[in-house]
């Protein structure tokens, strides 16, 4: 399952995603609670989806 969607597995709880930039290795932190985005550090962080996964079959690949 996509890391930024994992918060829906923990309703009402604060979920922190700690990652590393693939370019420089520096940390990226995204803090959420349900609908709320509490923190994105750095604010300039971007996500890159390398394939048009919206056409993938539900229940496989990007959705797991």
């Amino acid at each position: 399952m996509e890391s930024l969607a994992v918060r829906w597995l923990f309703p009402g709880q604060e979920v922190v995603v700690e990652s590393r930039c693939l370019d420089c290795g520096e940390s990226i932190r995204v803090r959420t609670r349900d609908e709320e985005i509490l923190e994105i550090n750095p604010e300039t962080a971007v996500g890159y989806m390398p394939s048009p996964f919206a056409t993938s079959r539900a229940g496989s690949g990007a959705f797991n």
Binding site: E2, L4, W8, D23, V30, T44, A45, G47, P50, A58
Partner: protein, 232 residues
């Protein structure tokens, strides 16, 4: 999805292929996209069964962020939904063991008819089948044959038929046409084959007769839908 500290870091990344930059967004926007129904309902018990329904909502979330998406594969198809009438009461009445045997006979009959009329079983849906046909005439004749055969084993089946463009999702079919077919099937009475106006019009000249069942609201589907019951 891969995270980068900024777009500059992404473009510096050796594996970055700029032709697909449709899928680059600020992390906050991705978080919003991942608020789509598809993701927030993950803990619900029927999630997997309904995942294909949620796909459009997810696409809309991407569109709301200004992203264009490749069109899914779509095919013209006639969908047939069949369902056992009052299955819970029947199962309770005959007991688990006998019900299992009855279900097997039901499935055998339905599959034989599907094979005879050239239908393709897409999946089982509780106590019935979703199947697809290239020809609406064969779909309707198959539905009629299934409905006529089931009373021989003490069951009654309802059936819904609709023709329209469906999304191809691997071995499955999805999209609004499939939902319409399911809703039409749910409206049908015992041993009835109910069809949409589209399916009825497509079989003009086939010799199949219909009675008008009037306009219906189909749950979750916009507009009113004229439905017809097969009489011969």
């Amino acid at each position: 999805m891969n995270l980068f500290r900024s777009e500059e870091h992404l473009t510096r990344w050796l594996n970055y292929f700029h032709a697909v930059d449709d899928y680059v967004m600020p992390a906050g926007d991705w978080a919003k996209v991942f608020s789509a129904t598809m993701f927030r309902r993950r803990l619900e018990p029927d999630y997997l069964a309904r995942a294909s329904e949620y796909l459009e909502d997810y696409r809309q979330a991407l569109r709301a962020m200004g992203k264009t998406l490749p069109a899914p594969d779509r095919v013209m198809s006639t969908v047939l939904f069949t369902d056992i009438v009052d299955s819970t009461r029947q199962a309770a009445h005959v007991g688990d063991s006998e019900w299992r045997a009855l279900l097997k006979r039901h499935n055998d009959i339905a599959r034989n008819q599907l094979a005879h009329f050239g239908g393709r079983e897409i999946k089982q849906t509780g106590d019935g089948f979703l199947s697809a046909f290239d020809s609406p005439t064969r779909a309707i004749r198959c539905a009629t044959a299934i409905c006529r055969a089931m009373p021989n084993i003490g069951l009654q089946v309802r059936a819904g038929v609709h023709s329209g463009e469906c999304e191809v999702i691997g071995d499955d079919l999805g999209g609004i046409a499939v939902h319409i077919g399911a809703r039409i099937g749910a409206v049908a009475g015992p041993n009835e084959v109910l069809v949409s106006q589209t399916a009825k019009d497509a079989v003009t000249g086939s010799g199949i007769s219909f009675d008008d069942r009037g306009a219906h609201n189909l749950k979750g589907v916009p507009g009113q839908w004229q439905l017809y019951v097969v009489v011969s």
